[in-house]
Amino acid sequence: MAELSDGLLVVTLLSYLAAMLLHAGEYAFGDRGRIANAATAAAVPAKELVGAGAPVVTPAPHGYAAPTVTAPDDAAPGASRSRAAWLGPAAVGATILGVAAHVITVVSRGIAAERLPFGNMYEFVLSITALGGVIWLGTLYFQRQVRHLGLFVMLFEVLLVGVAGMILYTPVGPLVPALDSYWFGIHIGAVITSSSLFMVAGAASIMYLVRTGWDDGKRGFLYAFGGRLANAEAVERLSFRLHAFAFPIWTFGVTAGAIWAEVAWGRYWGWDPKEVWAFISWVVYAGYLHARATPSIKRSTAAWIAVIGFLTMMMNLFGVNIFFTGLHSYGGV
């Protein structure tokens, strides 16, 4: 089982890498999706609102789809459509393969260790990314029009799974006594679930910012993609819904952690570095939800707060385990 898990990790990583490259190819050569195509076509007669040509897109309050969107400067969209149309579906296919291999990697790891696969940083990161992959595929199933977001999600998957496999790898082993509690599944399960939701939601926020940045005239690194991103509004709404779904689970995870901390260490909150950063993430995401619910605050401002929230999650995952010592340092790194 352990060999199966280790072997499939390679398949997972390669599939995600392929999916990411195929998504990137779709950006470079593809038809930008049916809706984006309609949008660029509609943008040519300069006075017409893009939204009018794209029935699924609701008019944007910030005007991301304003007439300033320029016509494509490369070949006409119709010409490239036939040649590169396979790239997007192929990317999704690679994603499905990767997620399937990923889930089996995690499950077989759990069977090999005869416990939940949350016991060390390697398993923790692997579980978050696996669930993140499942959530992404689920999202895609219900909202086909956000497929472009796959590039960003796959980028996170490749980076995190890569780091897990190459740096954090730990052989299968039993739990240390400190983790031997039923709170182990509850606390870490909730943290993993919310983290994976925050990951997909964070990718959506980044994509939205790239698009709004492009609309504001930014053309630097990453923003250059902006012109080729469609459905920014749908992605932003998706981001909010995922965040709103994740936040209570995160709150529950932190609360469960506090209850467990009382049982294990005698205090429910002790400002251990992991707790400090969990608190910081909670505060930042609370700020995001408030900003998002306030009409006078720009959606892009809220999205920036969400990105900061995700950075604090990453800081908690990697920074705290590497730079600080605390009560949450178990098994590896």
Binding site: G173, P174, V176, P177, A178, D180, S181, W183, R237, A244, F247, P248, T251, F252, T255, A258, I259, W260, E262, V263, A264, W265, G266, R267, Y268, W269, G270, W271, D272, P273, V276, W277, F279, I280, V283, V284, A286, G287, L289, H290, A291, A293, T294, P295, S296, I297, T312, V320, F324, G326
Partner: protein, 517 residues
């Protein structure tokens, strides 16, 4: 922190000014009102939230006294110039610092200022019936003309679960006004109020709570009783005095640890007998990591364990003393280092006190015997160096019982005596002066944390309320629908989502379809 920006309140019109207020008072009042409005605005609340997040960071970077006081001392030693400056800025007590408190207290003030009027408004909304249908329903975000005549009773049945009000007008028109989703605002208010409950619980806990640490060696003469004098370290809340501590005693009778072949621990459990002066013997208890011992008024948590070599020293004059010296471990295989001191050796001559410093290896490795191979006592050995001289115990300066006094060593008042010696259990070492040291065995020791926090139930209640309120607030949808039935048989409907609700269109369409059935 109102979610929708503060609604502008119009001053009551038509009220003539009765008396001129002095301008200073008026200006002061205006400034205070403006300040309050600023403080309770969403933008300020967001800034404070962000500040709170930033202000929490130094507490994870700098060592904190409340987390591990030894780390603060180490930081002081490593950064003698920087540390006092940081200390003056509360850098080692971030979460008890005035600037951290200022941020969260302002945030909570802003929160109270926001939820109080909203509580009042929501209470009013709960008592007030949904308003009558607007004249022109087409102006609403959703509206429909119903194709078929609608039976009123059937229409009402469709609105089951909605708060519905029926109004009959003079011309015979009947309107149904229905509203749903009151729980959204209720959940939102519950969420924010529960934060206050948590704050109160945390405050109570820090005032009336206390905690202490203690190392307990196994054995009846090593009984620990819960008094301040017996703690190794402790912290009492400002409202707690030594007399408030619950009285109980614990004797460690056994400690059991299980390990894998590679030395990774599998489980730990400590057996104790408890007693108190009111009831006498409280019986045997077992507690473990993740399974604390819950006594009346205090909980006892197992934190660590190790070995205490038992050494018997017979000085040249033939006087025998025995000591049980707990050795703190230095690595996961329980390589332990410590000191066994015999201050009463060789009579009252302070320059001939004896101490033995060394390393205990539960499972001896090969020479030079530096590391234990396994945390279990599979092949125990004790590597000791003898010291003779003034141990410096009478200087009145607190010193560690696990180390020799470095000042005495540096001053040459305490000197190494003879060569180092590797001892097995039961062996006797005869020193140069004819005195003897016997290594009779080891005992287990545990470190425990003893704690009491009366705020815990309140904090837990707050956390549960928060977890109830949060999903209601995030997933609730407040919306109104109206149905107007005219005497001529025509009917029209309108709908208004009062919060962001992408699914309202579908819900409204489904209502209209069911009305037309």
């Amino acid at each position: 922190m109102s979610v929708t920006e503060a609604a502008v309140e119009l001053p009551p019109a038509g009220e003539p000014p009765r008396r001129r207020t002095p301008w200073v008072v008026a200006a002061g009042w205006a400034a205070a009102r403006n300040g309050w409005r600023q403080l309770t605005s969403m933008r300020t609340a967001l800034m404070l939230l962000f500040l709170l997040a930033v202000a929490a960071i130094p507490g994870s970077v700098l060592p904190q006294r409340s987390v591990k006081v030894e780390d603060v001392q180490r930081f002081y030693a490593a950064n003698p110039n920087l540390a006092p400056v940081l200390d003056r800025l509360w850098g080692f007590e971030v979460y008890a610092s005035p600037w951290f408190a200022a941020i969260y207290l302002l945030l909570f003030t802003s929160l109270v200022g926001c939820i109080t009027p909203r509580l009042r408004d929501h209470a009013r909304a709960l008592r007030t019936a949904p308003p009558d249908a607007p004249k022109v329903l087409e102006r609403l975000p959703k509206s429909a003309l119903l194709a078929t005549p609608v039976d009123e009773a059937a229409a009402k049945a469709v609105l089951r679960g909605w708060r519905t009000v029926r109004r009959e007008h003079a011309d015979g028109t009947i309107t149904l006004a229905a509203e749903k989703g009151y729980l959204k605002e209720a959940g939102n208010l519950l969420f924010h109020s529960s934060l206050l409950v948590i704050l109160v619980g945390v405050g109570l806990g820090s005032l009336w709570g206390w905690h202490a640490g203690r190392l307990i060696v196994a054995g009846p003469e090593q009984v620990f009783c819960n008094t301040v004098q017996q703690y190794d370290d402790f912290g009492l809340g400002p409202r707690v005095t030594a007399g408030d501590l619950p009285d109980f005693c614990l004797e460690l009778t056994d400690f059991r640890a299980e390990y894998r072949a590679d030395g990774m621990p599998i489980s730990f459990a400590a057996d104790v007998t408890a007693s108190d002066s009111a009831h006498g013997d409280l019986g045997r208890h077992t507690f473990a990591v993740n399974h604390p011992l819950r006594l009346d008024g205090a909980n006892v948590y197992l934190l660590g364990h190790g070995y205490a070599p038992v050494l018997r020293y017979t000085d040249a004059a033939g006087v025998t003393q025995e000591t049980v010296a707990p050795f703190p471990f230095t690595d996961p295989t329980l390589t332990s280092e410590g000191v066994a001191a015999f201050p009463d050796a060789n009579g009252s001559d302070k320059t001939k006190q004896m101490a033995f410093s060394g390393t205990y290896l539960p499972t001896k490795d090969g020479p030079p015997y530096l590391r234990s191979d396994h945390p279990e006592e599979r092949n125990p050995a004790l590597m000791l160096v003898a010291y003779r001289g003034d141990l410096g115990l009478d200087a009145g300066i607190p010193s560690s019982v696990y180390d020799l006094d470095q000042r005495q060593l540096d001053a040459g008042r305490l000197k190494k005596y003879g060569e180092a010696k590797l001892m097995r259990i039961g062996e006797t070492w005869t020193l140069e002066d004819g005195s003897k040291l016997q290594f009779t065995g080891t005992r287990q020791w545990i470190t425990v944390s003893i704690r009491h926090d009366p705020g815990e139930p309140i904090v837990l209640t707050g956390a549960i309320l928060l977890l109830v309120g949060l999903p209601l607030s995030l997933y609730g949808k407040r919306r109104r629908v109206w149905l107007r039935l005219r005497p001529d048989g025509t009917a029209e409907a309108g709908g208004l989502p009062r919060t962001e609700y992408p699914g309202f269109e579908d819900e409204f369409r489904s209502l209209v379809e069911r009305w037309q059935r």
